[in-house]
Symmetry: C2
DNA sequence: ATAATAATTGACAGTTTTAGTCGGGTATGT
DNA sequence: ACATACCCGACTAAAACTGTCAATTATTAT
């Protein structure tokens, strides 16, 4: 039951991007240096984040990445979805309309309920909240405990 | 973010064990046949379940496994813990007293909060509830939705 | 005692997933 | 033209997962 480092990196990179964004594009090289994540690996992640409508890219010199939407409208679960990390704990209920639970699935409700809790929690946190928290000014949110 | 099949098997096996238990020990061979899980793999799991004080073993002919405690006192998270599947989504906060969050961990609260939700949910479900549900008589519990 | 039963244990191998690299391409501003 | 920076797919090494095998020990029935 581990969140892959891919997902962890994606969230960290997004917070960092938002933190150092002043309206002009932020390069992956900067994020790479600040977060100690391999540049080529970051590129891989940002291709997916762009496709997931989390960021948009600006090519050429002076280019880089910008948020595709206001930070307030970007939820953590969307970031993780974008880099193709499933948030569902069992493979049988991946994307299809519920899993084909014939009869022998006594544990179905356990995994289904768990998936729901995970999704609910991660969708309740926005990139803006994380960024404010990183700045040392906790917003109105209550992330844990 | 996947629950390993090891953990899934362990929970299924425990429900099955409790379901067909009439006071005398249940053999792994029976569980193996009913749940279509390799006997040798089950053996591996039950060694750990015994160490985790979930079941107790009776050796020799007529032997098998029994619950170490009443089903009402066995929670799903304990079963998963026993087979050594971590319920914490990030490795840095594995068992030690919180992780060494120096300064650059802007996502700490996300994973910590997530771990808490997962633990809370799985500890709220007992083996007894699952067994009753499997019998088609939902207890007083509300597992999901 | 002896044989049959069933748990116990450690080592091992095949497969899949993860994490990350590499090499080349494409668009754009100066 | 040229440097910058994104874009993309193939590739690989390492780890984890899933499961098997062989050998042993403890207990009970005969
Ligand atoms: S088929 Fe997915 S839990 Fe039953
Ligand atoms: S060290 Fe674990 S989240 Fe910071």
């Amino acid at each position: 039951m581990r969140m892959s480092t891919k997902a962890q990196y994606a969230v960290r990179a997004m917070v960092n991007l938002n933190l150092y964004s002043d309206g002009s594009p932020v390069t992956l090289r900067d994020i790479s240096l600040r977060e100690s994540i391999s540049l080529t690996y970051l590129e891989q992640l940002f291709v997916k984040l762009r496709r997931g409508d989390i960021v948009k890219s600006v090519r050429g010199p002076g280019g880089g990445y910008l948020l595709a939407r206001p930070a307030k409208e970007i939820q953590v679960d969307e970031i993780i979805d974008s880099v193709e990390e499933s948030l569902v704990p069992v493979s049988c209920m991946d994307q299809k309309r519920g899993c084909v639970c014939d009869d022998r699935c006594v544990t179905h409700n356990v995994w289904h309920g768990l998936a729901e809790r995970i999704r609910d929690f991660l969708s309740s946190i926005t990139l803006e909240e994380l960024t404010l928290e990183a700045k040392g000014m906790p917003g109105k949110s209550k992330t844990n405990s």
